[in-house]
């Protein structure tokens, strides 16, 4: 096992861990409050709306943006840490 492929394996493992965590949050802000607990959370107010309605039509979408943002940001860091960023392409080669 070469050193390089060992590091690539580690990089991949960290990537998978990050994806898993973000997808758990993805599930927790969409399916859980807006579908599974939609009825009970209907009685919990969020400002002027029921909490489940807010998650269903507003909150989940806002959290989705944050999740993708965190992924892009964290992966930039991870790429740098494991030195796997792409080289900037300078020459343009034809198809």
């Amino acid at each position: 096992m070469s050193d390089q492929s060992q590091r690539q394996r580690e990089y991949w493992k960290k990537n998978i861990g990050l994806i898993r965590n973000l997808l758990i949050v993805w599930f927790l802000v969409s399916y859980v409050p807006a579908i599974f607990f939609a009825e009970p959370l209907y009685n919990v107010p969020f400002f002027k709306l029921p909490l489940s309605f807010w998650f269903a039509q507003q909150g989940s979408i806002l959290v989705f943006i944050v999740l993708i943002y965190i992924y892009a940001k964290q992966m930039d860091k991870l790429d740098e840490e494991y030195d796997v960023q792409e080289v900037q392409l300078t020459d343009k080669r034809g198809g």
Partner: protein, 560 residues
């Protein structure tokens, strides 16, 4: 012609001139520019292009109205069509960009070392895109006929010429930059009326804050109960909880598997840019998607307040009532003859499209804004049509013609093939726009269901399961496709075959829109079992999988 029509004509002419100009400016000379815009699109611009690609004429014109009628359960579209971007950004986009080819069948064919898989993926791509594009062309015709009183056929023809200009000449490059402009037009056109009506009803200029911090939604919910409609804010009044779950999941996964969205990620410079363009895309999309539910609530509240219990003669004197009643988007009928309109007596019929189309007038906005809404609807329909046409024609000219039939074709022949197929695709789409098969609206479920059940699992497993092989993928795709297609055909048999009633109502309680998620699960199961009982993929394929997992060494898109 009145002022609104003249302004509409001017605005539409200006925006069309810009799209044509972009086509001429962006004309391309090689296949790489034609299919993936030379991998030279900045992340933010690609994000705007994805958003325009994604938000169709139907999203623009019908979605707010659809939600206004479904109430809480409208969340299936809101969460379904945005949550899919999380899957796309985390699970597919970066790796497909690293893989760096031109199309979705390209990935499936190479990863599963099989032209059979490539052909199946190409056919799925063509079918998915075709069902979708017919609706776009019809949308173009409708905007023309409603706003400018021109014939629907003439409207579709104009739309075809414009799309042909920037798509045939400029390929993906022309499409991308015109989509950036189209996004700008459509979002401005959407937000201005929404902001105006939000200010009017809630005093808050930001629609989604107005929704959260005012009583309008509660009032609407109570008013709906009072007139015998469903309680707006309460879940599962229009769909069962199971269906809300299944449809949301199927739309999320289907979104992530739609070829015309996926290929947009091939156009950026790097893996990093692919990740960031997903961030931009969802921000741009969310601007409309968080506004739509607010607009739905405000517009419906306004309609109820204005029309319910109003003497019918008084109602008919309102300018916009008269206008929209003329085109049958609003139907007023004093059924019990008491001279007063009552929702509870079904005396007011509202077409869902009126929520967006009539809002500028309901909110007393200037004719300029009304004209802008027309230009926005056209921008939304044209940009989506262009993206779909490219996805379809690249599946034909790149995957079927070049990769399968004529691997020795020269660059020049391939570019010509690309242009010819996109031209033909436009003609077919135009024909379907003018003569829509009766079931077009009904089979949109097909596009998402098939994408969810066929392409999404095959791509996902291709990246995350190194052991997945040709046999597993092909059997999985076929199982997902056949199951989902059969179920939708059976459930929608009245619309498709003209049977008297649906052959089956649902599958274990899941309707046609949600069935794709079951197809996807079956695909995963079959892929897994078959791949584990057949031999592992060749060494070079396993190396390919290792390779797409690491951003380093990203190349430009290459054709073979």
């Amino acid at each position: 012609m009145d002022l609104v029509e003249i302004l509409t004509l001017i605005l539409v002419a200006i925006t069309f001139a810009i799209y044509v100009g972009i086509g001429i400016w962006a004309r391309v000379r090689d296949t790489k520019n034609f299919y993936v815009a030379g991998n030279d699109i900045p992340a933010a611009a690609n994000g705007a292009a994805i958003a325009a690609d994604w938000m169709s004429g139907a999203s623009f014109i019908s979605m707010a109205g659809l939600i206004a009628f479904l109430g809480y359960d409208g969340t299936v579209y809101l969460m379904g069509w945005t949550g899919g971007y999380v899957l796309l950004a985390l699970l597919l986009a970066p790796y497909l960009r690293k893989f760096g080819r031109y199309t979705v069948p390209d990935f499936i064919g190479d990863r599963y070392y099989s032209n059979g898989a490539r052909a199946v993926a190409a056919i799925a791509t063509i079918f998915i895109s075709l069902t979708y594009v017919a609706g776009q062309m019809k949308g173009v015709g409708i905007v023309f006929s409603r706003f400018l009183q021109v014939d629907l056929i003439f409207g579709v023809l104009i739309g075809m010429v414009i799309v042909a200009f920037f798509a045939v000449l400029g390929g993906m490059k022309g499409i991308t930059w015109s989509q950036v402009v189209q996004y700008t037009v459509l979002i401005i056109a959407y937000l201005i009326p929404a902001i105006a009506i939000s200010l009017k009803l809630t005093g808050n200029p930001i629609p989604f804050l107005g929704l959260t911090f005012s009583d309008v939604a509660r009032n609407l919910s109570e008013a709906q109960i009072a007139v015998g409609l469903t309680e707006y804010l309460r879940p599962f009044q229009n769909m069962s909880g199971l269906n809300v779950f299944a449809v949301t999941a199927a739309l999320m996964v289907g979104t992530a598997g739609l070829p015309h969205v996926i290929i947009r990620f091939y156009t950026v410079r790097s893996v990093r840019a692919a990740r960031w363009s997903a961030v931009w895309a969802l921000i741009f999309i969310a601007l409309l998607y968080t506004t739509a539910p607010a607009l739905g609530v405000f517009a419906k509240h306004n309609l109820l307040q204005t029309l319910d219990n109003k003497p019918i003669e008084e109602a008919q004197e309102i300018g916009w009532v008269d206008k929209w009643a003329n085109v049958e988007l609003l139907k007023l009928e004093d059924k019990n003859g008491d001279g007063v309109l009552q929702f509870s007596e079904n005396e007011i019929g509202i077409d869902r499209d009126i929520i967006v189309l009539a809002t500028p007038e309901v909110a007393d906005l200037s004719p300029f804004v009304i004209a802008l809404v027309a230009a926005g609807g056209l921008a939304a329909a044209l940009s989506t049509a262009a993206g779909l046409l490219l996805a379809m024609s690249s599946a034909v000219s790149h995957d079927i013609y070049y990769r399968i039939l004529r691997p020795d074709a020269s660059e020049k022949q391939r570019l010509a093939a690309g242009r010819i197929t996109i031209f033909f695709a436009i003609v077919v789409a135009g024909y379907l726009g003018i003569n829509p098969p009766g079931f077009v609206g009904e089979v949109v479920a097909f596009a998402f269901g098939l994408a969810a059940a066929s392409l999404f699992p095959a791509i996902l497993l291709g990246i995350f399961d190194k052991r997945m092989n040709r046999e597993g993928a092909i059997w999985g795709i076929l199982t997902g496709l056949i199951f989902t297609a059969t179920m939708i055909l059976l459930m929608r048999s009245p619309q498709i075959f003209g049977t008297e009633s649906a052959a089956i109502d649902s599958f274990l309680g899941i309707n046609a829109q949600g069935i794709g998620i079951v197809g996807m699960i079956l695909n995963f199961i079959v892929s897994f079992i078959v791949s584990r009982s057949t031999k592992e993929p060749p060494q070079e394929i396993q190396q390919l999988v290792e390779d797409i997992r690491i951003p380093k060494g990203v190349g430009e898109a290459s054709d073979h």
